[in-house]
Symmetry: C2
Subunit: 304 residues, 2 copies
């Protein structure tokens, strides 16, 4: 299976490297890391053991990459105006496109342009950061849940999940993509935004009782927004929230991607993580008060 | 009338200087400004005209200041554990104490220690900042509304108000101190906190539509909290909020005191402006959701 990785940041580089290590034909679209990867290959540091890939296929433009069987999208959503143009040259007759991007709206964008039947979406529970060019730091976790944009469990989705799992990335195919997208938002909406806004990491948030309570309240808003939709089954609010908090208690001083984006002066993924979910929830009659406040405060700090 | 100013920051220095200029016997308790004031007096810059006071009575401790007729309190509320000890040496038989401090709880603290009949409270609509030692910058406005802690309109309150007004500080005595305290909170709770949290000034907040809307929503929460109390008459929410927004639209890039406190690494007046009002409103069955979120985020950034 030929695989293209579009948007090779901390997420794309890590998953691409895991698949490459497992012997897959992985082609990376690179910008910042191009020279380093061509010269020295790709290094992954990880609590599960560091590894180095000597020969890695890096490209500067999708036109050079050829048709592939699977496109893995890790692009930051604020660059989504380029997404379709980046993906189109890679498409053969049966190419599937799996977006692991944050938030909502990414599958819709792809489906509109290339057809809903090509599109899968997934959520990654991955703690990783970019290092020097040619190096990515895997800090912990890494599992993926994915599903068809059109819904239902397909052989294709099961095969992709099996490929990831065989490569050391625990991956599960599910029938209800909307549900796993919203479940991921239960984590992303409080932690990404509060950390980016305040400069506090997840541990600082969770060890300060009033902000821990705030995280919990925001999570409850997102669960209410999710459950107002027609999910296959509702998110079990209290239990799910308790599990997310416990999981995050184990992430020692982790800094979410949005916090790093702000610290490094990049735009934030506000539309995918806040704007679209807020509008969807409001469309179902759910007003996410604290989430809207957080969105307003984050937007205030964005470059005009 | 002998007047002592306790807590001679941007507010205490300005009002004290205005009264001194009008010929009153004003005695300042000074720390940072002591040497400069003793040597060169006190300078006020103001759009209404700068002025300089050559001879100003500055003291290092309240014990040296003697008994006075009126104590004017401008102390930051985070220093309230020292308030009673600073005031007590100044008290004669009929000394009145007027606190112009921010937020709630200050009159209660004084009344408990020195008797409710001595205590008045007031709110200042003043834009001022400290400059070099011995200099205070009056940026705009400056009017005061004050009232008896025990309630009702007294001759004493009217006399103090007349004294301020004669000195160029428009001042009105009112019967319902609680109402004017809460009216001030309608401004302080959104602007002080949001500016301190985000580093944006009032103009940046009000020209960004989502944060302008957030300011309006927080103001509505405070009005609801106020009107749940037994005020002489309720705050006219919508009209009052519109007036506060209009007033603030005229404050070109003003930075509220709490924003400056944070920028300069001082503690914030969180208990007086957030903690006590939140508890009071909750005690009357009003949950101020956005205000509580703002309080949590501000507290997160405080030194442990």
């Amino acid at each position: 299976m030929r695989i293209a990785v579009i948007g090779a940041g901390a997420l794309g580089l890590y998953y691409g490297a895991m698949l490459r290590r497992a012997g897959r034909d992985v082609r990376f679209l690179l910008r910042r890391d191009y020279e380093a990867v061509r010269r020295r290959g790709l290094t992954v540091t990880s609590p599960a053991g560091d590894f180095h890939l000597e020969r890695v296929r890096g490209f500067r433009s999708p036109a050079e990459m050829g048709e592939v069987d699977l496109v893995l999208v890790g692009l930051k959503t604020f660059a989504n105006d380029r997404l379709v143009d980046l993906v189109r040259p890679l498409l053969g007759k049966r190419t599937a496109v799996l977006t692991l991007q944050n938030g909502l709206g990414n599958e819709e964008l792809l489906a509109e342009a290339i057809g809903a039947d090509r599109v899968l979406g997934g959520v990654a529970f991955l703690c990783s950061n970019r290092g020097e060019p040619g190096t990515v730091h895997h800090l912990g976790q890494g599992s993926i849940r994915l599903g068809e944009y059109a819904g239902g469990l397909t052989e294709r989705a099961a095969a992709i999940a099996a490929m990831f799992t065989a490569a050391g990335v625990p991956c599960e195919a599910v029938a209800d993509l909307a549900k796993i997208r919203w479940e991921k938002l239960v984590w992303n909406i409080p932690f990404n935004g509060l950390c980016a806004l305040t400069g506090a990491d997840v541990t600082a948030l969770l060890t300060h009782p009033p902000s821990r309570e705030l995280v919990r309240e925001i999570m409850a808003e997102v669960v209410a927004g999710a459950n107002a939709r027609d999910l296959s089954e509702p998110i079990a609010g209290e239990a799910f929230i308790a599990r997310m908090l416990e999981l995050t208690d184990g992430m020692d001083h982790y800094r979410p991607s949005m916090m790093i984006d702000r610290l490094e002066g990049r735009p934030l993924e506000l539309e995918a993580i806040y704007g679209i979910p807020l509008r969807m929830a409001a469309g179902h009659g759910v007003e996410m008060t604290r989430t809207r406040m957080l969105h307003a405060l984050l937007a205030l700090g964005e470059p005009k």
